[in-house]
């Protein structure tokens, strides 16, 4: 995090003031997001880079659930920040900047899933690795499943679902977000989120059964 040196303050007391006189520099974060945003609004466009640096990991963490290819993921993240830049005038500061950015990222992910669905020619099941197939066919708990295998299986089954179903399941079951949070992120009502999640879970189960039979 970037930091700046500040002038000694009387309220620090003598010990602290002495330290400051001796050249000790007290450091504090440059500013919070609201301050940075104000500066951007006042014309300091280059400050947006600092906002990007602060929130890039968060945006990548959201988008990674929907796109595994690193180049496409990077494009998606860039697109998210560009959208945020273009809509900065609409950010009213009532919610933290990160919440607002998450909303943009989630909508970018949904658009991406919709585009994928449109361009997806055949909706067949993908080839699964041996370990993933083993886990699918074994009903006992002896077969352990690691994250990459789970990702492989889920990616295969999720292809059968609508973009909205994929989104709601990812947010609710994998990211562990609450219905209220999902509702805020997507703009859907809480009832819609609950119903959609329930139905999506059922459809995912069917898709997984399809994978099992394959």
């Amino acid at each position: 995090m970037t930091a700046v040196a500040v002038q000694p303050l009387a309220c620090f007391g003598e010990g602290r003031a002495d330290k400051l006189k001796r050249g000790f520099q007290y450091e504090r974060p440059v500013s919070d997001d609201a301050e940075l945003l104000q500066r951007i609004r006042n014309g300091a466009q280059e400050e947006f880079a600092e906002l990007v640096r602060r929130h890039q990991s968060h945006v990548f963490a959201i988008l990674y659930r929907y796109e595994k290819d690193h180049h496409r993921l990077e494009d998606l993240a860039q697109d998210t920040f560009l959208k945020a830049w273009r809509s900065l005038a609409q950010f009213d500061g009532r919610a933290p900047f990160q919440h607002w950015l998450s909303k943009i990222a989630v909508h970018a992910a949904l658009d991406h899933l919709r585009k994928q669905k449109r361009t997806q020619k055949e909706i067949g099941f993908p080839e699964l690795g041996e370990d993933a197939l083993d886990w699918l066919h074994n009903d006992n708990k002896q077969t352990d499943l690691d994250a990459s295998q789970a990702r492989e299986i889920l990616a295969g089954a999720m292809r059968k679902l609508s973009p909205e179903d994929q989104l709601v399941l990812t947010l609710l079951e994998i990211e562990d977000r609450s219905v209220k949070e999902i509702s805020a992120l997507t703009g859907w009502s809480a009832v819609t989120v609950r119903v959609r999640a329930l139905r999506a879970r059922g459809r995912l189960k069917k898709a997984l059964e399809g994978l099992e039979k394959k």
Partner: protein, 95 residues
């Protein structure tokens, strides 16, 4: 497929480590922004979208005020039936 197996799948997927942003990602974003430096002004539909809830509230308030004032003013005045009866009385008397 059993519920427990589905839950196991979700639990395993949760532990996946997300990809880290590449070095210089912020720089790439800033390059993109510099190619289109101007933040586009709000379009007419954006403005409508921003103003519509307020306009709707104002319109609802105006309608409510009109309805209330009409009810208040008509409570002191004679009712429509009475007025009609008054008007028709001379006609009935003539016949």
């Amino acid at each position: 497929m059993k519920e427990s197996k589905l839950n196991e799948l979700f639990t395993a997927a949760k532990s996946e480590t997300p990809a880290a942003p590449p070095e210089g990602f912020a720089f790439l974003v800033m390059q993109q922004i510099q190619r289109n430096p101007a933040r586009p002004e709000l379009s007419a539909s954006d403005l409508l979208g921003m103003w519509f809830p307020r306009l709707a509230m104002v319109a609802a308030a105006v309608i409510a005020i009109c309805v209330i004032s009409d009810m208040v003013s008509s409570s002191n005045a004679p009712s429509l039936t009475e007025s009609a009866a008054q008007l028709s009385e001379p006609l009935v008397a003539e016949n």
